[in-house]
Structure formats: structure tokens, C-alpha cells
Symmetry: C2
Subunit: 332 residues, 2 copies
């Protein structure tokens, strides 16, 4: 079996660390692993398969012996360094927003459109966390009944912002208990015991970038530019695990049990829907979970062929690191 030289770029970040763990867990055939981060993490040591690996910072030629580089850094930095990695011979799987809507870049959720991977010209984009769990759950409905309209409301955890946001929520709840003043640096306002209807920057059309990512990326992954979608993205004081409440109108009439069966049969999606026993998806269930969980599936009586459902997934794993590693697995 062949082994590959990998680089994780952003190795000390929340997603980067999940990538390293997942490469271990899934026994990815790694020959040499380079861990790359910013200058300030240089020299730090991270354990991978009982080896201690020194964190390096980016310099010319660093990707020359790399087969696959898994990027999870800021969008602007991806724009700067991904082309360098490609030039030096690596294939980049990029977790940022930098290339997702680029026509020459495949945007891949392996369970849905792994066939696009081979079309890459050096870069493959990993979708946004809130998009991944959405498309995983609605793909079976799209395929069988068509999507006439999709309305998404997100309940997003702070881990999606990164490690600093996790620390900020933790510090704020400590300060609340100690009756200290609550300070906000990562978010514009306090996130503890609060709701922020504001994720990523506001756009000209009054939507946030996050909301438009859900709209545009979903269409690209499902390969249908016409699907009518709208989204509202809200940050909630949860450490990890995004929730999504989704209202769907199908093109043709559906049977609710068939919708449930189709979702349950979808690879890496789990139906958690037994209200008589209080079984429904929740963030606390997905801490070590790779599957997307779907529940509260029920007919929406306000409109013909409409339904409501509730989706929860681990945004650091299937929403980011795991999906990236799955892409790498499909490549090799």
C-alpha cells in the first residue's frame, strides 16, 4: 500500500488539531507529516502516532515533497499560500472560503459528489460547516422529491470561530460566576447567555457572508443553481456542535416515513427521531461523533409538500476536519 507525505497547515488551530487526530484514528497511510502554523507556534511539538513532530512555519519550498496539504487557516492566508503549495507540487484541500465558489475548484462532500474530486486543478475546497451538515441531510430529499424551497436557521457553536472563541466563552462564564466584568474580543458582543444573529461579515444584500455561504455552496454541491434557499445564521453559547432547523418544500408530494427512511439510509447520516422517548439530535451527543444527526422530522401543515427537521453535527469533524480527510481518502 502506498503511503503519502501530508502537510497540515494551521496545525495548532481547532480544526487543524482535529485533522491530526482524525488522520490517526482513520489510519490514513501517512509517510511523512509536516505540521505548519504561524511563526508564533514554530518549534512547538505535537504528537502524531507516538512521534513528536515540530511545528514549522511556511517558507519557500516547504511543500516540495508534499503530496496532499490540508489547509485550515484564514481565507486571506489560504489565498496567499495555497497557490504556492500547488506550484511546489502538492494538492491542496482547503477549508477556508477562499476558493469555494471558484468554478475551477471542486467543492466536495464525499458522500454527495466525490466524483468531482478528479476535476481539480490543484485545489479542492472543503465546504462551510453549516453547509456540510445541511446537504448531508437534504440530499436524499433532493434526489427523490426535489427541493422547491429550503429555509435554514442555524444555531452555531463557538468552536466554528476557532480556539480563541472557545476560550472567550469559557472566560465569560467564569467571569459571570466570579461576578467580574464580562469582556468580548473575538465577538462584537458577549456570547455567554446571549445570541448573536451575526456570523461573518454583513453583505450588500443585508445577509451575512455565512448565510450566503449556505445558499451558494448548497447549490454548488447539489449541482443545481436554481434551488431557492434562504438562511439566517445565529451564534449560540454552545462550545461545539451546530444545530440547524430546516423547513423544506418538496417539488412533489412525499411520504414522511419514506423521508425518514431515505435520510437514515444516507451514508454517515443517522436518524435520531423518537419523540416518545425524548430522542432528538443535540450538540452534547456529537462530541465524538462523525455522523450527521437528523430528527424532529414532521409535516409542515402550513404549506403543501412542506416539512420541518432538526439537524445537529460536530462542526469541527464532519463540518470541517473529517470532511477534509475524507476528501484526501477518496483522492488516493
Amino acid at each position: 500500500m502506498s503511503k503519502y507525505n501530508l502537510a497540515v497547515v494551521g496545525a495548532t488551530g481547532a480544526v487543524g488539531q482535529e485533522i491530526i487526530e482524525i488522520l490517526e484514528e482513520r489510519k490514513f497511510p501517512v509517510d511523512n507529516l509536516k505540521l505548519i502554523a504561524s511563526k508564533k507556534s514554530e518549534g512547538k511539538k505535537i504528537t502524531f502516532l507516538n512521534r513528536k513532530i515540530k511545528v514549522e512555519s511556511i517558507e519557500n519550498g516547504i511543500f516540495e515533497d508534499i503530496d496532499i496539504a490540508l489547509f485550515s487557516i484564514d481565507s486571506n492566508l489560504s489565498k496567499k499560500y495555497a497557490p504556492q503549495a500547488v506550484k511546489e507540487g502538492a494538492v491542496v484541500i482547503d477549508n477556508s472560503n477562499a476558493f469555494r465558489m471558484d468554478d475551477s475548484v471542486p467543492l466536495v462532500v464525499p458522500e454527495i459528489n466525490a466524483n468531482k474530486i478528479n476535476e481539480h486543478q490543484g485545489i479542492i475546497a472543503n465546504p462551510n460547516c453549516s453547509t456540510i451538515q445541511l446537504v448531508m441531510a437534504i440530499k436524499p430529499i433532493f434526489k427523490k422529491y426535489g427541493l422547491k424551497r429550503v429555509i435554514v436557521n442555524t444555531y452555531q457553536a463557538v468552536s466554528g470561530t476557532g480556539k480563541r472563541a472557545i476560550s472567550e466563552l469559557e472566560q465569560q462564564i467564569k467571569d459571570y460566576i466570579d461576578k467580574n466584568e464580562i469582556k468580548s474580543e473575538v465577538y462584537p458582543y458577549q456570547i455567554s447567555f446571549n445570541l448573536l444573529p451575526h456570523i461573518d461579515e454583513f453583505q450588500e444584500n443585508k445577509y451575512t457572508k455565512e448565510e450566503m455561504k449556505v445558499v451558494k455552496e448548497t447549490r454548488k454541491i447539489l449541482d443545481d443553481k436554481e434551488i431557492p434557499i434562504t438562511a439566517t445564521a445565529v451564534r449560540v453559547p454552545v462550545f461545539n456542535g451546530h444545530g440547524e432547523s430546516v423547513n423544506i418544500e418538496t417539488e412533489v408530494s412525499y411520504l414522511i416515513d419514506d423521508i425518514k427512511n431515505s435520510i437514515d439510509k444516507m451514508e454517515n447520516v443517522k436518524l435520531v427521531d423518537n419523540i416518545n422517548e425524548n430522542k432528538y439530535p443535540m450538540p452534547i451527543m456529537v462530541e465524538n461523533e462523525d455522523e450527521v444527526m437528523v430528527g424532529r422530522i414532521r409535516r409542515d401543515y402550513s404549506k403543501k409538500n412542506a416539512l420541518n427537521m432538526w439537524i445537529v453535527a460536530n462542526n469541527l469533524r464532519k463540518g470541517a476536519a473529517l470532511n477534509a480527510v475524507q476528501i484526501a481518502e477518496k483522492m488516493i
Copy 2:
């Protein structure tokens, strides 16, 4: 000016205590105030306008000298004691779910249907917290453009459940910090750092009672049994202040600026919608706030005549206690 004998039933609860504060704040013309609670609170003293009032428990004849009894107790207890209060001569303003959908009981949000108050036969019902902030925000749209469809997603604070839920969230975050086991008694699962897509009991139709309250009560208050509405209700780890993300389809085409103006002109509703300056409604803004706040108003491009908006209100005040006191004010 006449003064009235009032009773607050459930005086030691989260809503009961807000009622007492609001009666003080708004200088309600109180002659005598009876504070009523369960046996275990009997004898406790609560201050009202510098008087110390002893908490009593319900017994026969307790409402005989009472003009208005403000009930905020469990639905089953309301069913038992409200008829007694009416028989003994009081008018009951009931905050529970017991009588809301009863045809002979007015369900009132004073800014919308104060005219219904006089039709009462002894009991006036106070709507559910998530309904009140919704109807306050959508009434101007309903009036001017009609409501073809309304899709509501709630982000509800624990104070809506009551004092024990507030304590449970507080205890859970302390236990998290102290690395103790997290215990749940009020909710079926941990609420700290989690999301519960489950508020009140599940119904035959797979919706929760809370979700169906939003549907049915909104129709009754807006006096239109046909409005197509669907709701998903989610409990979030916020102490106080409910959020609601609402998607609306109007009957006729609208101008977004006119929608904003109509909402801003609505009595006791405040437009907080300046994304360039990061101004949008949040729970931390409504701690001492009586107004319902609306923002993030924007066209939904997935459907003709559709729009999205975000509503936040203090669920203990406008969502419960304040609305009850406003009803009493309109009565006298």
C-alpha cells in the same frame, strides 16, 4: 382616582416577582395587594412599595375582596383555582395555557386586541411568551400586506421555564467549571452548552405543545383562523430573553423600507436594524426592556414577497408579567 384590590397568584415565581415589580414601576393604583403562593412559601415576606406583605396560600374566600387576580402558576392549578377566584368575585388574568384557546376567554395583547377585554366572562388569558413577541412584530405586516405564510424558529431562554430552570443552568455552568458531573432535573438533558429542540410536551402531530401554542394563539390574537403558520421551538442556554427567527410571505408585494417603518411605528416595538454598526436585537439588550426588538429585516430572495426578520424580547416582561399588567391597566 379609584384604587383596586389585587392578588398575585404564584407570587414567588419568576413571572410573579416580575408582576410585583411592574405594578410598582408603573404605579398601578393598588389599594390592597394579596400575594399568594404554594403552602411551602406561606409566611414569606415580599416588599411592595415599602410595605412588607406576607405570602398566603389559597383557601376558600381568599379572593372575596379581590378585584383583579393575576395568576402565574401551573396550567393544572390555574384550571383548579381560577374558577374559584371568579366565583368569589375577582376577574382573573391568567398566564397559563389553561384557558387560552377557550372560545369564551379573550386572549389579549393590549397593543393588538385590547377591544376583546370587555368580552370576558371572568377570565382573560395572557398569551404564551413566544407568541406575544411574534404577534407584536408581525401585526403591522399582517395589517398592511397580509400573511400568506409564517415560519417561526425560536431560541428560547430558560427563564421561560421558571426559577428552577435558571438555577439549573447556573448550577450546570458552575459544575462545568469545577469539573463536577453535570446533573439535569428540570430539563430531560443538560441545557448548558446544549440545544434542546423540545419545549413542553410532544403532541400527536409530532409538534410540541409550545410550537402549537405559537400557531394557534397567533391566529386567535390576529383574529384569522386561516393564517398558515409553522413553528420549531428550541431551548438555548440563555438566562433571559427569547430570540425568534421569522420567515414571512406576504399576500401582496411589499417595500422593505415600509415594512421597517411600520414595525418601528408599532406601539412598544423598537426597530434595531443597522447592520453597518452591528446593531441588531440580542437577549443581553432586553434585561430591563419592555419593548419588543426587531432587526435583521431583509428580503428573502428564495420566494416572491418573502422576508426574514429577527425578534428579541424579555420573555418575563412583555412575554408574561408586563402584558398581564397592561391587560389589568386597560380593564380599569
